[in-house]
């Protein structure tokens, strides 16, 4: 790294070895410029490896993939990669699955994120209080995070197995159902299964983020509120929630984006089936890609990016107005 930088100017060497030295006005400008160049070179040299990797293996394929959206690009016929304008987009909007996929995606995001937020918030509130084994407890509930979404899908696929699944067994023991349910064979119950799996996985993230935010609230505020006779509910809504609003808003946004882009669990459980009825946008995109139609898959990818950008802008504007930035 140092090989690329200029040799240090003599006065700098003197400065390093010697004691404090007053800068002479005439030299001041030059030294400042040298300092700036050196600083720039350091920044560039330190940033280059990371930038090269990300540009070459992430950005280049992404941009190349984006332009595929406007071409006929099918693995079955690579001789014809002609420009087709918005043809791939039209094909997606015209696909009979499009409506199902959209409503599934909305259900998947909303039904996953609301329980994740509520349970995560409750966990964080209750974990704020010190108790014995709190460290151990936090480490244990953190475990789902070490597992890949795909494997979580497999875990829940086995538990929701229609014949030998433990979920059916437990529900029957509790007399909640009379006979085994073929969870993954019916799109409606299959959506329930994959959403349960996602809640299992995602609560921890909310709990961690909210707990960290809660710990940043100074105790004095609570003491003052208690002195003023504020009750628990009032304290929660008047102090706790407003105080951590920025974190809440940001965490929800990050999770929405992430859950949107999270085909792994579905990939491991239903794979989009039965009969393509449990696809969300990203699992559908992968399926289209596996069929070899890169053009159409890329078009769907661009639609996802556009949708997420729109959502982020609306969301940030909406939360900003309510005074998220204190």
């Amino acid at each position: 790294m140092r090989a690329g930088t200029a040799p240090p100017p003599p006065e700098k060497v003197r400065r390093r070895s010697g004691g404090p030295r007053r800068a002479q006005p005439a030299e001041g400008g030059r030294r400042k410029r040298e300092f700036t160049t050196r600083r720039g070179l350091t920044i560039a040299a330190f940033m280059t490896p990371a930038a090269l990797f990300v540009a070459f293996f992430t950005y280049y394929p992404m941009i190349a993939g984006s332009q595929m959206a406007f071409r006929h690009w099918n693995l079955s016929d690579l001789t014809d990669t002609s420009f087709v304008g918005f043809g791939n987009f039209k094909a997606i909007f015209g696909d009979p699955l499009w409506g199902t996929v959209l409503s599934n995606t909305a259900l998947w995001v909303v039904a996953s994120i609301v329980p994740q937020l509520v349970i995560g918030f409750a966990l964080a509130l209750w974990l704020r209080r010190r108790f014995r084994f709190r460290g151990l407890y936090q480490a244990l509930i953190f475990f789902p995070w070490a597992i890949s979404g795909f494997l979580i899908g497999i875990l829940f696929r086995w538990m929701f197995n229609s014949e030998f699944g433990v979920v059916n067994d437990l529900l029957m023991k509790a007399s909640l159902i009379d006979e085994p349910v073929a969870w993954l064979a019916d799109p409606k119950t299959a959506m329930v299964a994959i959403i349960v799996a996602n809640i299992w996985y995602g609560v921890t993230f909310f709990a961690i983020m909210i707990l960290a935010a809660l710990q940043s609230i100074p105790d004095e505020i609570y003491e003052a509120a208690a002195l003023d006779g504020a009750g628990k509910v009032r304290t929660l809504f008047r102090i706790t929630i407003p105080y951590i609003r920025a974190t809440l808003a940001l965490t929800v946004l990050l999770r929405v984006i992430w859950i949107f882009n999270f085909p792994d669990i579905i990939f491991g459980t239903t794979g989009g089936g039965p009969n393509n009825e449990t696809h969300i946008v990203t699992t559908w995109m992968i399926t289209i890609m596996q069929q070899g139609d890169y053009g159409r898959a890329s078009a769907l990818g661009l639609l996802i990016v556009a949708g997420l950008l729109l959502f982020s802008v609306f969301y940030l504007t909406a939360t900003e107005e309510k005074g998220v930035r204190r």
């Binding site: 293996f57 597992i147 494997l151």
Partner: protein
């Protein structure tokens, strides 16, 4: 915060925390129990919540009939190399982003954020073509290079948070004593930041270990398969053999759980550092 708590409140708290713990642990317990059941016991009613006789046949089958050992080794090599290189590269970029103010800084941070937002699947096709041109398809080095690029953005953001917590007087003192900036970074800051760096490495390692879609796309020969690719093969077959599947799942989860248990405190710190500000 420790204020008074009513008896009912305490009961509610303990009840809720216990229920959630059971819900969290149960799937892991269940897959482990399944993996130790002999084939006949997995598919019998009533289900046994504790196996009558522990059997290792599912595990021995994995290393005999299937080449799970090879897959584990491939995953280990790829994740360890990619995780290490990505951590070192991210340390450099994170350092600069934490210590200097410059014009393109916001743009660079945004560029890192965008990689997390865009569905990576859009890049799969061109990436495959690129790797074909480089003759790196079905090659562990190829997968390592791609994984490094995948790890860098988040790892940089995470490490930047750790750097920001360390006063810059440390490396300034080292540089006045004649250390180069790189020397100061590695000789002075590295020891201080050890826990954070280990956490970042573990996070990278686990991400690579768990990655599915890139490895499915890029690795196709049996010699080069990683664990997730192999698991994907297991569930794609018409009749899933849940005995060996569960044993494979346990072997896949175990290393990452051990690593996370080891570093969870620092990972939590890294995750929250960026998002939470007073």
């Amino acid at each position: 915060m420790n204020t008074r708590e009513s008896r009912a409140g305490k009961a509610a708290r303990i009840g809720f925390l216990t229920l959630w713990l059971i819900f969290t642990i149960f799937p892991l317990y269940w897959i482990t129990i399944t993996s130790f059941k002999p084939a006949g016991d997995i598919f019998t009613f009533p289900l046994a919540y504790w196996p009558e006789d522990f059997s290792l046949e599912n595990y021995s089958g994995l290393f005999g009939a299937s080449r799970f050992g090879t897959y584990l080794l491939n995953s280990l090599i790829v994740s360890a190399v990619a995780g290490t290189v990505a951590t070192v590269i991210s340390m450099l970029s994170a350092y600069v982003l934490a210590r200097f103010e410059f014009r393109t800084k916001t743009a660079l941070l945004m560029a890192a954020l965008v990689t997390q937002m865009i569905p990576s699947f859009i890049a799969l096709g061109p990436l495959y073509l690129l790797m074909t041109d480089l003759r790196l398809v079905d090659n562990r080095l190829g997968l390592v290079l791609v994984y490094i690029a995948v790890c860098i953005p988040f790892c940089t953001v995470m490490l930047r948070g750790f750097f920001a917590n360390i006063p810059d007087t440390l490396e300034e003192a080292a540089m006045i004593d004649g250390c180069s900036r790189l020397g100061a970074l590695f000789r002075v800051l590295l020891p201080v930041m050890k826990p954070g760096i280990v956490a970042a490495f573990i996070f990278n390692f686990v991400n690579c270990w768990n990655e599915l879609f890139l490895s499915v796309t890029l690795m196709n020969s049996d010699d080069n398969k990683t664990v997730p690719t192999a698991l994907n093969g297991f569930i794609s077959s018409f009749n899933i053999d849940w005995g060996s599947m569960s044993a494979a799942a346990v072997l896949t989860i175990l290393p990452t759980m051990v690593l996370f248990a080891f570093a969870s405190r620092h990972i939590v710190q890294g995750l929250t550092a960026g998002a939470v500000k007073g």
